[in-house]
């Protein structure tokens, strides 16, 4: 990976060359076809990322690389900077300093294109309570310019088990159902990178099984996942890479295969005191 590439020379209209085969059309997302990339190229490249809110440092120099098709679990105590990291990757916050690239696109220079590539499931469902489940998905479908949005929305509602709630307003849905709908919303435009902030929140056993399946389907199609969780066992099971944040810095970054649950628990308890 050539990290010295000149961002200014890169086209602001298209993502990196190596992603062209993924059938990404930023003007119109074909949601049905996403082929596997040529090789495992980086989908996320973060260099010396710093973020402060009102002079209070939250992230103090993060360096991360996530490869296409990989899943990364970000662990850490409350306030470690996990959500801030995800918000920056989702273009909801700007970095104070440092470089962040998604699919080779600089996040600060190409936010529009980066937004087309990412899907976010967070603590907030980011749905409109007075609209029905289907209306919400149709609205976001138009925002992401998804072709055949209605068919896609209905497919996804069936996939997340909400086919009987299509015409119900979000305000009438339970917490778990809203979370399922948030998943459908995040997957609607078939993003290359899924950003999940404690995705299991509010879900029952069936819901957790469902998101495990959605995880698998997404990565099988060549998509990548960066997720935060407090469940260490789940982090080990669901990821190829583990990152432990503490005080806005990376305290541990290792392949999940190289860690046992006991070892991870020990490191976690030592770091998060």
């Amino acid at each position: 990976m050539n990290v010295q590439r000149d961002v200014g020379e890169r086209s602001k209209e298209q993502p990196d060359e190596k992603y062209k085969d993924t059938d990404l059309d930023t003007a119109s997302t074909n949601v049905h076809v996403v082929s596997t990339p040529i090789a495992q190229s980086p989908i996320v490249e973060i260099q010396n990322l710093k973020k402060s809110y009102a002079f209070k440092p939250i992230l103090r120099g993060i360096d991360l690389t996530l490869l296409q098709g990989q899943r990364m679990a970000v662990l850490g105590s409350n306030g470690a900077g996990k959500t801030t990291l995800l918000r920056i990757l989702a273009c909801l916050d700007k970095p104070t300093s440092g470089t962040v690239r998604i699919a080779g696109l600089d996040l600060t220079h190409n936010p529009q294109h980066v937004r087309q590539l990412t899907g976010l499931v967070a603590h907030q469902p980011y749905l409109y309570e007075e609209l029905t489940a289907l209306e919400n998905l149709l609205f976001f479908g138009r925002m992401y310019n998804v072709t055949k949005a209605r068919e896609r929305a209905i497919d996804l509602l069936q996939r997340v088990g909400l086919e009987r709630r299509i015409q119900e307003r979000v305000s009438a849905l339970s917490r778990g159902q809203v979370q399922r709908l948030a998943w459908a919303r995040a997957l609607l435009h078939d993003p290359h990178l899924l950003l999940l902030d404690e995705p299991e929140t509010g879900l029952d056993h069936n819901g957790n099984t469902l998101i495990d399946a959605l995880f698998a389907e997404h990565t099988h199609r060549g998509g990548s996942v960066l997720f935060t969780t407090h469940q260490l066992e789940r982090a080990l099971l669901m990821s190829e890479q583990i990152v432990l944040l503490s005080g806005g810095r990376i305290a541990l970054q290792r392949a999940s295969a190289d860690l046992t649950l006991d070892e991870l628990r020990r490191i976690y308890s030592e770091v998060v005191k």
Binding site: E130, L131, E135, M143
Partner: protein, 165 residues
């Protein structure tokens, strides 16, 4: 050409969402309408209006009713997005910021327009004007609405962003 089509499609989507949202909650339009009517009625009863001074006072009353009712609505349109971080959801999508502004502007114009349609005939009745004056007032009110909504939309977003509502 395609970008233009997408641009207007997204404007329409946000506008459609806002209208549907408002029709279901009806909070903004009802409160704006009630406020405008109250202003017209209260001014009509409190001012000592005679034939020779009504033309001097009435336009001021009408614009006070429209402007204050609009402020009520303008604040709410963005506040509704701001609540529960829903504005983040809109900002998260790959939509041009101009699209959001234009959709909110048209939405606010519609909102103010509905209030004006209800308030104008009542204004004419309360202040004893000839009903034909509505035809003369429409272009002026329309231009005023465009000005009010375009500046009001911008400032309501800024006010919401500063959390100084």
């Amino acid at each position: 050409m395609r970008d233009t089509a997408i641009f207007w499609q997204q404007v329409w989507a946000i506008l459609w969402k806002d209208i549907r949202y408002e029709l279901r909650s009806t909070q903004t339009w009802l409160s704006m309408g009630m406020f405008a009517l109250l202003v017209l009625v209260i001014f009509n009863f409190t001012f000592d209006l005679r034939v020779n001074n009504v033309k001097a006072v009435a336009p001021g009353v009408l614009w006070i009713a429209f402007i204050f009712a609009s402020l009520l609505g303008l604040g709410r349109t963005i506040a509704a997005e701001r609540e529960r971080s829903i504005l983040d959801r809109l900002l998260l999508t790959p939509v041009d910021r101009k699209v959001i502004y234009l959709a909110k502007l048209v939405g606010n114009m519609l909102c103010i327009g509905v209030v004006e349609i209800v308030a104008l005939p009542i204004f004419v009745l309360l202040f004893n004007f000839d009903i034909a004056i509505i035809g003369d007032l429409i272009p002026i009110v329309l231009l005023g609405t465009v000005g009010l909504a375009s500046i009001g939309t911008l400032f309501s977003v800024m006010a919401a962003a500063t959390r100084a509502r």
